[in-house]
Structure formats: C-alpha cells, structure tokens
C-alpha cells in the first residue's frame, strides 16, 4: 500500500464512520419511523455479515462446516449461554466437523 493509498483507506473508513455517526445520524434523530429504522438497520447488517461469512467464500455460495458452527452458536445464544462460551463451542464444533473431512 502506497502512502497515498493508505491515507485513502484510513481516511475513507474513518470518514464514513464520522459521516454515519454525525451527519446522517443527526439527520434522522427525532422522527419515529427513523428511530425504528435505526433499530432495524443494524440487525439487517449484522444478519447479512453473518450470512455472508457463513454461506459464501469469495463470490461463491458454499455450504460447509461453518454452517454447523453458526447453527450451534445460534441455538446457544437463544438459550442465553454467555458469549465467551458460545464463541468457543462454535469454533470447536466447526473444527470437529472439519476433522471428519467435510467442509
């Protein structure tokens, strides 16, 4: 990464965050529908990131051991198991499934 490229990357991501946190966030504050949207939108994003990291590799849809690990994490989280335990069991499950030779 050239210094200019690095500056673009750092400045770009930082700028996007500040734009979201100040300009856009302030724009929507105080409106009922907007307030609901700001509750729903992060859930859509978080669900999308989980889905992409669970079901895709680069530009392909791939079903492998990750699906089992995340399914276990979902059930444990639903049962309110502490986050640290969820993370460790999800990784261990995925690793075990891979030991069997699949995914």
């Amino acid at each position: 990464m050239s210094p200019l490229g690095l500056a673009l990357f750092l400045g770009g991501v930082f700028g996007l965050r500040m734009l979201g946190g100040f300009a856009l966030g302030g724009l929507l504050a105080g409106n009922d529908r907007a307030t609901r949207l700001l509750v729903l939108m992060p859930l859509s994003i978080v669900a999308a990131v989980i889905a992409v990291q669970t079901f895709t590799v680069k530009a392909d849809v791939v079903i492998d051991a990750r699906v089992v690990g995340i399914a276990v994490a979902a059930v444990l989280s639903w049962r309110k198991v502490p986050m640290g335990v969820v993370v460790v069991i999800a990784a261990a499950t995925t690793a075990l499934v891979r030991l069997t030779g699949w995914g």
Binding site: L19, L40, M41, A91
Partner: protein
C-alpha cells in the same frame, strides 16, 4: 404485557446475558487470534509493518484488510484493492449511524463510538438496550474495548511472529467473529419486524454475493430494513402464550 413493552419483553425473554470477565477475556483472545491471522495475510501480499499497524488501528476493519489483500493476491492493482477495502468497510458508516441517541454522550464519546461501532459492539448494545441506557453503554464499551485491544495486540503479535498460524480454518477461527454477534440476531427473531429485517437482510446478502462486488450485498441488505418498517413491531403469537 402491553404492545409497547413487546420489544423489551422480546429481548428480555430468558434473561440478560451480562458479560463476565471470562467472556470478555475469551473475546479479547479471539480478537487477538484473528488479528494475528489477518496480519499474516497482509504480510503475505508484501504489506509493510507500519501500514499494517496504521490500518488495524485507524481503519479498524479486518474485513477491509482481507478484501485489500485478496485483490492484491489475485494480481489486482492498488487502486481496485483500496476500492474493494472501502466497499467492504462501508457498512461501518451505517453501523455508526445507528448509534447516536442510544445514550447521552459527549462529543468525544460520540467520535469514539462512531469509530468503534463494530458488529459485535453494536450487537451487544442492541441486546442490552431493553435493560436501559446504562446497560447498553456498558455492553457496547466492554465489547468495543476488549475486541479493539485484542485486535491491535494480535496484529502486533502477528508482525512479530510472522506466518506461524498456518490454516486457521482448522481451529474454526473463521466462525468466531460471526458467532460473537449471533446473539442480537436470534433475539431479534422474537419480534416480527426485526425478524423480517434479519431474514431479508441475510438472504439478500447471500443471494447477491455471486453477482456484486464484496461489500455491496451488505449495503443492499441494510436497505431491507426499510421494508421491515411496514411490519408491526410485535412479538410472534404463540399458542398458549397470552400477551
């Protein structure tokens, strides 16, 4: 329970997952491991150490770094690599946008919140929100601080150690990150409008991944929340459960 309390009741069902030191320690360790892994990918495409440290601290986007590295590794130029990194990181602008107003914060705290609004911290704040502003603020900062610390320490350790990790998929490291914020999603499924936002967002992102550049499907998935606005913010009716 009244309709206005449905959201609170949904999140409260089954109790509050308060973070213990063990949870935070595990998350710190997991972030370190991811930091080491991402750094070895960055070094693999010839990125110098100070760029790695600047990127992990100020851009604070592991997926952005991986996107950059994968374009370089596949023979692409610096410019498309940076565009890819920015696209993949664009969701952080929207996550930062969802944070103001959750609790009263000074200017400096708002800057810090916008900078550290990662999925896991925002998800923890959402999960804790029904228990009040203090709980949300505490959950956000606990997760933000320990994952940031782990991530920066991990990146530095990765630079010091070089490529010692090998295939991190063998230990299931690739599910650690999504598993840490799946809690907010399963909680959201208890309510009709957030369940629609989650299912639409998740399926749109996967369906669009083969045809759009990385990062764009997640932005389109964010727009799914607009459709979910049309759904009432109620709990699902279950037989035998009176509300």
């Amino acid at each position: 329970m009244s309709a206005t309390n449905d959201a609170d009741a949904a999140a409260a069902a089954g109790g509050f997952r308060k973070m213990s030191w063990l949870d935070l320690g595990t998350l710190l360790f997991a972030s370190m491991a991811i930091g080491v892994a991402v750094t070895s990918i960055m070094e693999g495409v010839g990125t110098s150490w100070w760029v790695v440290m600047a990127a992990c601290t100020f851009a604070y986007s592991g997926t952005g770094e991986v996107a950059y590295a994968s374009v370089i590794a596949s023979g692409g130029g610096i410019t498309p690599a940076i565009v890819a990194a920015l696209l993949v990181s664009s969701r952080f602008g929207l996550l930062a946008m969802s944070m103001p107003g959750r609790w009263k914060a000074s200017l400096w705290e708002r800057i810090a919140i916008a900078h550290s609004a990662s999925e896991v911290a925002v998800a923890a704040a959402i999960e804790a929100q029904p228990y009040g502003e203090r709980a949300a603020r505490r959950a956000f900062w606990e997760l933000a601080l320990c994952t940031t610390a782990g991530w920066i320490i991990g990146s530095a350790v990765g630079l010091a150690l070089g490529d010692v990790v090998g295939d991190t998929r063998r230990i299931g490291l690739d599910v650690v990150f999504p598993a840490s914020f799946v809690g907010a999603v399963v909680n959201g499924l208890r309510r009709q409008d957030s369940a629609v936002a989650i299912v639409l967002g998740g399926s749109a992102a996967v369906a669009l991944t083969p045809m759009l550049p990385a990062g764009v499907p997640v932005l389109i998935a964010a727009a799914a929340s607009l459709l979910a606005l049309a759904v009432p913010p109620r709990l699902w009716r279950r037989p035998g459960v009176t509300s």
